[in-house]
Symmetry: C2
Subunit: 286 residues, 2 copies
């Protein structure tokens, strides 16, 4: 499987929840278009038992057995780890990132990258100082659909100049009936629609409004429906200097409409995408 033509990246996986399992499965695929040989070098969990179970369930029998650690700090200290994937809950991202960076590791951190702008800035500054690579693991940006969309919208200008984009991503989560300790209910764990799903609405709006390497900064205004300090629904407006507008909304009380994103261009009066953010099925224009 491994080829000597590519650099080898030895991954340390931090956090052993379901998102980490998806990541490890995808990373282990034998993709012909890969640019590196990826090795799952180590797994860091809150206990050796959980880490071992994760390994047994997610590392293919034909792959090298990773080292399993019962703490994240041991993983960060492992000199055989080149890059760390952080799949812990939102509220721990800041600390996990800082610990990894200070140990000299490159970092790929799950979305949302941090709980607020201050934390994000802190992590990026630390990474810059240490000279390590850091990135948010926003998979949406790597969907083949998104690549195609970028081509259509920004390179081919299929609908002219993009003028306005709507995106609503909503999912009823029954938060009222969850235990107070739930990640979806506990503000200390970063609970709320914005960080959990609103980030997708924002991502689609930004993808559609901005080119590949945009340095525009929109004015942003927003409001939130709060219950016990947790946002049940967030609505945000983006306005760029040239007039482009974004309307990004999310809710944990309702269900995403089948058409969750609408992109309007100057050439035709409207272009629609009909897809679900996690499993894009269909690109349709009307």
């Amino acid at each position: 499987m491994a080829s000597n033509d590519f650099p080898i990246l030895r991954w340390g996986i931090v956090g052993t929840g379901v998102i980490s399992s998806w990541f490890v499965t995808d990373l282990s695929l034998d993709r012909p278009d890969r640019k590196a040989n990826h090795i799952i070098q180590a797994i860091g969990s809150s206990s050796i038992e959980k880490g071992t179970t994760f390994m047994d369930n997610n590392i293919g029998k034909n792959l090298k057995r990773p080292t399993v650690y019962g703490s994240y700090q041991e993983l960060f200290a492992d000199t055989n780890v080149d890059i760390v994937y952080i799949g812990t809950p939102h509220a721990f991202h800041n600390q996990n990132c800082l610990d990894a960076i200070r140990a000299g590791k490159h970092v790929l951190c799950e979305k949302p990258f941090a709980i607020n702008a201050r934390e994000t800035k802190e992590v990026f500054e630390e990474a810059k100082q240490k000279g390590v690579f850091i990135m948010e693991a926003m998979w949406t940006r790597f969907f083949p659909l998104v690549q195609k969309l970028r081509e259509l919208i920004h390179s081919e200008k299929a609908i002219g100049d993009v003028q306005r984009v709507f995106c609503d991503f909503s999912m009823p989560m029954g938060i009222a009936s969850l235990p107070a300790s739930s990640r979806l209910k506990n503000p200390a764990l970063g609970a709320g629609s914005l960080l959990d799903i609103g980030i997708y609405s924002l991502t689609w709006v930004l993808l559609a409004l901005e080119g590949e390497f945009s340095h525009d900064t929109p004015d942003v205004t927003a409001n939130q429906r709060l219950e016990d300090g947790v946002d049940m629904a967030t609505s945000a407006l983006l306005l760029y200097e040239d007039g482009r507008q974004g309307i990004a909304t999310c809710s944990t009380l309702s269900k995403t409409p089948s058409t969750f994103c609408r992109i309007e261009g100057s050439k035709v009066s409207s272009k629609w995408m009909e897809l679900r953010p996690r499993h894009p099925l269909l690109l349709q224009s009307k």
Copy 2:
């Protein structure tokens, strides 16, 4: 046609454009459910010729001939006029309303009622002082569909408590190619998407979020795409103290989607209306 069982209202029509012609036609219908006998008593235009043409085109042959005036002031001075309908362009509403009120007339004024809040307040204060009736002619609020919708949403609570409402009303108007004097291009005439069509988005959002006589005041935040001082697109967010949210948008650059309004309630995950604001065709829930 006229019945002695009802009070008689003698109307003075101010402005002889297309909207006034629709109003006069509708007012002259022999409706069995009428609460008054309406008489078109006088027509006020910028010239006798225009006023006479309007009369010939819009007043049925079997109806009493109204007096035609070549100025609005003469109409306001007519003691046989009880109530004035104002169908002039936006920017003149304030002055027309004040003139009518000062002449002791009741007033029904086309939407938008005025160019800004200051003008609106001024007119309402004048009406209060003179003890005359005044109302914005927002026909949407009187559609049979709206009556039914109010019943379903607010009385029967068919979708539970309303949580979030989206409405977009957009219409490509080719403003760039219009002459500078156009009502749609001249800021002095109240040009812009908000006053022309955004008012419908706001009306639908308010109708769906509020009950019949709501005294809630939402927080409102908005942005606008401006070109030469005229808004090409306006996006507004409404937030009520109990968490209800409204997203009202409009644009003169794009086309309203077939589903222009989405109403979300607590009972079912979503309820949609599919209709056009001026000619509602269909009420559909999914």
